[in-house]
């Protein structure tokens, strides 16, 4: 049985992130993607396959060509986690704010 691939696996690799960035603006076929990178066509095909398995790329047949289209909905899951982590730092600054108010009251009585 194959392990289920997820969005984190998809974006864990710099080449895959670059591929997503590239096709986010405009669908490309695999050859066009491969030309932009300094790695073998096979390596790009493998990255594209991982991205398909992760649901970040959909293949659309257009005439003879097969185009890779970005499916970016899933990336919002990542940003939701980043937001939660950001919240931790926000609450640190909340605590700083509260402490400053307390100090101001103690020192200046206001």
């Amino acid at each position: 049985m194959k392990a289920r691939r997820d969005v984190y696996q998809a974006i864990a690799d710099p080449t895959r992130r670059a591929i997503i960035n590239m096709i986010a603006g405009q669908p490309h076929n695999v050859n066009a993607i491969a030309e932009k990178f300094d790695v073998s066509r096979q390596a790009i095909s493998l990255h594209v396959k991982v991205l398909i398995d992760c649901g970040l790329i959909a293949i659309k047949q257009r005439g003879r060509d097969r185009f890779c289209e970005a499916q970016l909905d899933q990336l919002s899951e990542v940003s939701a986690w980043v937001d939660q982590y950001r919240q931790q730092w926000e609450s640190k600054i909340d605590a700083l704010e509260t402490y400053l108010e307390k100090l101001k009251k103690e020192r200046y009585g206001k």
């Binding site: 982590y85 704010e97 402490y99």
Partner: protein, 152 residues
Amino acid sequence: MENKKSSTHDRELIISRTLNAPVELVWEVWTKPEHIANWWGPNGFTNTISTMDMVPGGEWNLVMHGPDGTDYDNRSVFKEVIPFKKIVYEHISYPWILATITFEAQGEQTLLNWHMLFESAEEFIKVVKTYKADEGLKQNIEKLGAYLKEML
């Protein structure tokens, strides 16, 4: 998908806040161990600061004590310290973070910018995911606490 041009956008966190206190006070509260121990760390945590040598190359050792008794070691080294303006430190225990904090005096207020740069996008994602796990645990403990209060 914003800030595409920045090469660090996928491994950084930026937080800004205007604090209702003059920069001298904000600086003091940020740089003196007896103050920082009062606000650093998540809710319910206490802190012990054994070293805080605020000069370039100086060490900063802070242990956060979690509500469940777990200690979290935070070792950092200051890289840059410009009084009332800027602090740069490198968090050298896990996770590696380069933090840059700037203070901007705005009359009786201070604009604080807190920038955290992680080693790589991979590390950043890992930290964020781990945090979510911890956060879930924390919420569970909070829920338990609230529940126990109701029972009293």
